[in-house]
């Protein structure tokens, strides 16, 4: 292709313009792909949850606990088969938020019955049931910190009632895994420990953060929820009971709003970058239009001139797109470690650049390339 140098020389001689165009495109593609992945993950999270599980919590806010006496009263309501306390412990590993992973105080036996997706060998289960300071950790979490059964570690909570002057000691009794086909989206980076430990370490002041209930039939969820909340209607502390799905949704909605916000900011940034690029390009356009006119005057066929311009623009688009996708791949890989958003996206199975999003990215790159070519269009012949 003897015309290739003509294209490459443009890209090389105006390397600063090439670089800024490629970078601007890369940032746009990066933002589009990363944010789309987050939004997808959040949407996915909204649909997770088991329909035969209900969650009861303080009517006002998750910040407040329910009295411990509520557990037996709720367990007695017809249709409720099993209950476990699930308290968000808010423990920080190594005293730093950046090592954050979800950790919850639960009632081991009931918890494992209600959550069949948490799977671990029988001997590890038994060890956990009988070990006051024992905990189980997800396979991914264990891999991350190279924890084996029998290892010790400490967590210190940032929630005031759970701050008891010293960190909590834990022993790894089991490492749980899941059946990803049957239970997609199970978080393998969480840690669960015995509620009794929390209760005693806080001088029996820990209440019930949330109570998860297993009910006989998802069809009865509405009736049972109403029955529970009616039971405490006239008490000092009222309850709010909803399906686990709804509970997660309200929880994730916060992350979802954040994702939407990020998306908005991202798109605004992308748009700004495009405008800046457009400006840079328009400076280049005059020069290029004259040049295209010269080529045509010298007898270059219109089709060839158009092809040269298109290929150059598409090359820019391709470079920008590839770079943007590489950056997005890296960012999405790092996403689960981001506090809060990370908790939500981590449940997304096979988190990564999906083919759909890659095609979005490449499509956007292609469009940007075509747009560049359009900017340079000029099929007139230069005046002699």
């Amino acid at each position: 292709m003897k015309f290739a140098p003509l294209i490459l020389k443009h890209l090389r001689k105006n390397w600063l313009r090439t670089l800024s165009t490629v970078l601007a495109m890369a940032v746009c593609i990066f933002l589009i792909c990363t944010l789309q992945t987050v939004v997808d993950a959040v949407n996915y999270g909204l649909h997770l949850g088991n329909a035969s599980r209900l969650v009861t919590r303080h009517y006002v806010s998750l910040v407040f606990n329910l009295p411990n006496s509520y557990k037996n009263k709720i367990a007695a309501i017809p249709g409720v088969q099993n209950t476990t306390i699930v308290n968000w412990f808010g423990g920080m590993y190594r005293g730093d938020m950046k090592y954050f992973f979800p950790n919850m105080a639960v009632e081991p036996e009931a918890f494992l019955q209600i959550y069949p997706e948490i799977m671990l060998p029988e001997d590890q289960k038994q060890a956990w049931f009988h070990d006051g300071r024992g905990c189980i950790v997800g396979r991914k979490l264990a891999e991350k910190w190279s924890w084996k059964v029998g290892d010790h570690f400490q967590l210190e909570s940032f929630i005031p009632p759970y701050r008891v002057g010293k960190p909590f000691d834990f022993i790894v009794d089991g490492i749980y895994d899941t059946d990803t086909v049957k239970y997609p989206g199970t978080d393998l980076s969480a840690m669960y420990f015995n509620y009794k430990y929390l209760y005693e370490a806080t001088g029996q002041r820990a209440g019930i953060g949330t109570l998860t209930l297993l009910i006989d039939d998802p069809k009865n969820a509405g009736r049972i929820s109403k029955a529970i909340d009616a039971e405490f209607e006239n008490s000092d502390v009222q309850t709010k009971t909803e399906t686990e799905q709804a509970f997660r949704a309200s929880f994730i909605a916060m992350a979802g709003n954040l994702a939407l916000l990020l998306n908005g900011i991202g798109l605004a940034v992308a748009f700004t970058i495009l405008l800046v690029t457009a400006n840079t390009m328009s400076i280049a356009v005059r020069e290029r239009q004259q040049e295209i006119g010269v080529l045509k005057t010298l007898g270059f066929p219109s089709g060839l001139v158009m092809a040269l311009v298109l290929i150059e623009a598409l090359l820019l688009g391709l470079m920008g797109g590839a770079l943007g996708l590489i950056l997005a791949g890296g960012a999405i890989h790092a996403l689960p470690n981001v506090p809060f958003i990370g908790d939500v996206v981590r449940q997304f199975p096979g988190l990564g650049l999906s083919p759909r999003i890659v095609s979005y990215g490449l499509g956007a790159a292609l469009l940007l390339g075509l747009w560049l070519a359009w900017c340079r269009r000029c099929w007139r012949i230069a005046p002699v």
């Binding site: 003897k2 001689k13 004259q290 040049e291 005057t297 007898g299 270059f300 219109s302 002699v384």
Partner: protein, 232 residues
């Protein structure tokens, strides 16, 4: 030279009863109205006239860049009106060399590559193209600047590179629109010397538009265009 030889002297450019109208909104602008011009092979013709008289328009018709509204334009034995756009482009690349007032070099290509540009449309090998381009640069006296970019050359040097580009395909006709219009006296003289060389030694037919009487004095024939009509 006998009388018959003169009569048979081949005609490089023949413009026959050509009209060129431009339509602007509802108004019709008659730029050329029944113009006739014969340029014999090997002639150096200077075309003069006031601004807006249609000099560039006529040059564009001769160079096959634009089409006449009516009439015939024959250049190097081809009637241009019969060619399609694609054929016309191909014809230009083989038969016409262009020299512009503002040189119109490609800024990202060096002098040698600029000169080589029209040869990309020929079937020559890369080596042959380089050799020819180098030869053309040598003739215009810029062999030592072959790796320089247009931005690194003076106006006069740029125009010499442009002339090398115009002649590198060995065209029949050279068209030049105010080739010295943007140059100082010294550089203009050099450019005119070069054009005379190509006319005398290489037998190129040249049609040059100019406002400069000194430039016109270098030509064999001077024609004046006024309101779309050739005088003298």
């Amino acid at each position: 030279m006998s009388a018959t030889e003169v009569a048979n002297k081949t005609t490089a450019v023949s413009v026959q009863n050509v009209r060129k109208f431009y339509q602007r909104d509802t108004m019709q602008i008659k730029v050329l109205d029944g113009l006739n011009l014969e340029v014999p092979q090997g002639e150096f013709l200077a075309l003069m006239g006031p601004s807006g008289s249609g000099k560039t328009t006529l040059l564009n018709l001769i160079a096959g860049i634009d089409r006449a509204t009516s009439g015939r334009v024959l250049v190097a034995g081809t009637e241009l009106g019969t060619l399609s756009e694609g054929q016309l482009a191909k014809w230009r690349s083989r038969n016409v060399g262009f020299i512009f007032q503002f040189y119109n070099l490609i800024p990202v290509l060096n002098a040698l590559e600029n000169v080589e540009l029209p040869l990309l449309l020929s079937p020559l090998s890369k080596r042959e193209r380089r050799e020819r381009a180098m030869t053309a640069l040598r003739i215009v006296g810029l062999a030592d600047r072959s790796k320089h970019y247009p931005g690194q050359l003076s106006g006069g040097q740029e125009q010499r590179v442009a002339i090398a580009r115009a002649v590198v395909t060995d065209p029949t006709v050279l068209v030049a629109d105010e080739p010295t219009g943007d140059l100082d006296h010294q550089s203009a003289e050099e450019i005119l010397d070069l054009m005379q060389t190509f006319n005398k030694e290489f037998g190129k037919t040249i049609v040059m538009v100019t406002h400069d009487p000194r430039a016109a004095a270098r030509a064999h024939v001077q024609r004046h265009l006024d309101k779309g009509v050739l005088t003298n």
